[in-house]
Amino acid sequence: MAEQPQAIKPVIEIDDLSSKKRFRDLPFWFFALILIAIFVFIVISSNEDYNNAFMFIKAGLIITIKTTLIAFSIATLFGLLAGLGRISKNVIINNLARLYVELIRGIPILVLIFFIALVGVPVLVGGMNNLGFWLTERGLGFLGGIFTKITNQNISMNSRAIISLAVTYGAYLAEIFRAGIQSISKGQMEAARSLGMSYSQAMRYVILPQAVRNVLPALGNDFVAMVKDSSLVSVLAVRDITQVARLYAGSTFRFREAYVTLSVMYLTMTVVLSLLVQLLERRLRSHE
C-alpha cells in the first residue's frame, strides 16, 4: 500500500514527457507543405498566367500516370522473378539474377533510359527479325512472319519509356523482394516442405504471402520514387507533364510559371501517395 504514491509519480512524469514528445513528433513539415499547397493553388486558380500554365501542363498527366502504373506493374513482376532468382540455389539462375541487379544498379537511371530505349530495343527488334528469318527458312513462315514484321517504328517511345523504367525498377524491387523473402524464418519453408509441398508450392502458399505483406510499404515507397523518376522519360520526347512543361516554358518563356506548376503537381502526387503508404504501414503493423 505504501508503495502506491511512489508508483503514481513516475506515471505522471512519463505522461508529461510523452505529451512533449507527441508535440515534437507532430508532422510540422506536413502542415507547412499543406500551407504551401493551398497558397499555390490559390495563386494558380486566381493568377491567369499560372492558370494557363496548369491548363497546358495537365495534358501530360495521363501519360505520367499511365507510364508509372504500367511500368511499375511490370517492374513488380521482374523484381519478383529476379528476387526469387537471387535466392535460388541453381547457380545459373542465381548468377543471371545477380548480373541483372548489379548491372542495372551500377548505371544512372537517365543513362539506362537512353540505353534501353535507343540501343536495347533496336537490338531486341533485330534479334526478333533474325529469329523470324530463321523460322521462315525452316518452313515455319506463319510463325516467322510475326517476328519479321516487327520494326523499330512499331515500338513507340512511350512503350520504350515504359520498358526502360520497368527494367530499371525491376532490379531495385528485386532486392526488396529478396530481403522480404529472407526475412521469413527458415522454419516456415521447412514446415511447408515437411507437409509434402514442393519448393514452389511452399513459396507460393507460405513464404510469398508473408514476404509480400512485409514488403508492401517498401514497394509503396518505390512507387512514389517512380512517380518522380517517370519525369526522366521526357528525354525520349514522351509527352509526360515534365515534357509538356518544358514545351510550354520554351514556347512562352514563362519558366517560373511552368516549373512552379510542374513541381506542385509532382509534390501533390508524392505527398498524397506517401501518406497512403504510411497509412498502409500502420494498418499492417496493427494487424500483427
Binding site: G187, E190, A191, L195
Partner: protein, 248 residues
C-alpha cells in the same frame, strides 16, 4: 520367424557440415507402430538425424529407407514421401498468415487433393483430438505456446502420415503447457503411430518409449529400452548424461 517390419531403416548415415560431423555413422531401424525416443546432449546430432529421415537435410552418405522405399534425390519422390512423414518442430512453425483451420487444410488440399469440405472435416477431427476445436478460426499469434504446438501436431496428423517425427516439441514451452502436448503425444503412441521423438521428458520416455537411443558426438552410444536406460545404463557417458538430466 517373421522378419521384423521396419518402417524406417537408416544405414551408415553420415552428415557433415563442413568439418562438423553432425551425424557420424548412424544405423537405426524403427519397427512399425513403435516409439523411439532419441536423447543426448545439445549438438550431438539428434535434430540432424531426424531431418535426414525426412530428407530436410540431404545426407552426405548412407541410406534412408521409408516403408520399403529408399529415399533418393528425386524431388518428386521426396515430396511424396514427406507427405507420409509428419514433423513437429521445437518452435511450432505454424503459418502466421493463416488461421488454425487454414493451417491444417492447406497441405491437405494441395497435396492430398481433398476438397475444402473434406479437408475442413479432417481438420476439425484433428483439432478435437488435440483438444482445441474452438480455436479453428483463431490466428496462431493469438494462441498459447501449448496450443500452437497442438495445432502443429493436428496439422501434421491431418495428412494421415505413417510416421511422426518430433524434434524437442516441448522444450520451447512454459512448464505448465508441457503436459498438454505430451498427453497428445502419449495418446498417439497408444493408438499405434510410429514415432521418432527427440525429447528429454523422462516421464514420456518411461510411459511411451519402446526404445531409447542415446546419441553423443553424432554417434549412437547406446540403444536400449526405458527400463534398461533407467536401471542399467551400459556406458559412462549415458550415466553422466542421465545424472545431469535427472538432476533437474
Amino acid at each position: 520367424m517373421n522378419k521384423a517390419d521396419h518402417i524406417i531403416v537408416v544405414k551408415d548415415l553420415y552428415k557433415y557440415f563442413g568439418d562438423i560431423k553432425a551425424v557420424d555413422g548412424v544405423s537405426l531401424n524403427v519397427e512399425r507402430g513403435k516409439v523411439v525416443v532419441v536423447i543426448g546432449p545439445s549438438g550431438s546430432g539428434k535434430s540432424t538425424l531426424l531431418r535426414c529421415i525426412n530428407h530436410l537435410e540431404i545426407p552426405s552418405s548412407g541410406e534412408v529407407w521409408i516403408d520399403g522405399e529408399q529415399i533418393t534425390h528425386d524431388a518428386k519422390q521426396i515430396n511424396e514421401i514427406r507427405a507420409e512423414i509428419g514433423m513437429v518442430f521445437q518452435l511450432f512453425n505454424l503459418f502466421p498468415h493463416l488461421t488454425v483451420m487454414e493451417n491444417i487444410t492447406l497441405a491437405q488440399k494441395i497435396i492430398r487433393g481433398r476438397s475444402q469440405a473434406e479437408a475442413a472435416q479432417v481438420a476439425l477431427e484433428q483439432l478435437k483430438r488435440v483438444g482445441i476445436p474452438e480455436k479453428a478460426d483463431a490466428y496462431p499469434t493469438n494462441l498459447s505456446g501449448g496450443q500452437q504446438q497442438r495445432v502443429a501436431i493436428a496439422r501434421a496428423l491431418a495428412m494421415k502420415p505413417k510416421i511422426m517425427l518430433f524434434d524437442e516439441p516441448t522444450s520451447a514451452l512454459d512448464p505448465e503447457m508441457i503436459k498438454e502436448v505430451l498427453d497428445v503425444m502419449l495418446d498417439l503412441a497408444q493408438e499405434g503411430m510410429t514415432m521418432v521423438c527427440v525429447s528429454h521428458e523422462m516421464g514420456f520416455v518411461r510411459s511411451a518409449a519402446d526404445e531409447v537411443v542415446f546419441m553423443d558426438f553424432g554417434k549412437i552410444v547406446e540403444q536400449t529400452t526405458p527400463e534398461g536406460l533407467f536401471n542399467n545404463p551400459q556406458h559412462e557417458r549415458t550415466k553422466l548424461f542421465l545424472s545431469q538430466i535427472l538432476a533437474h
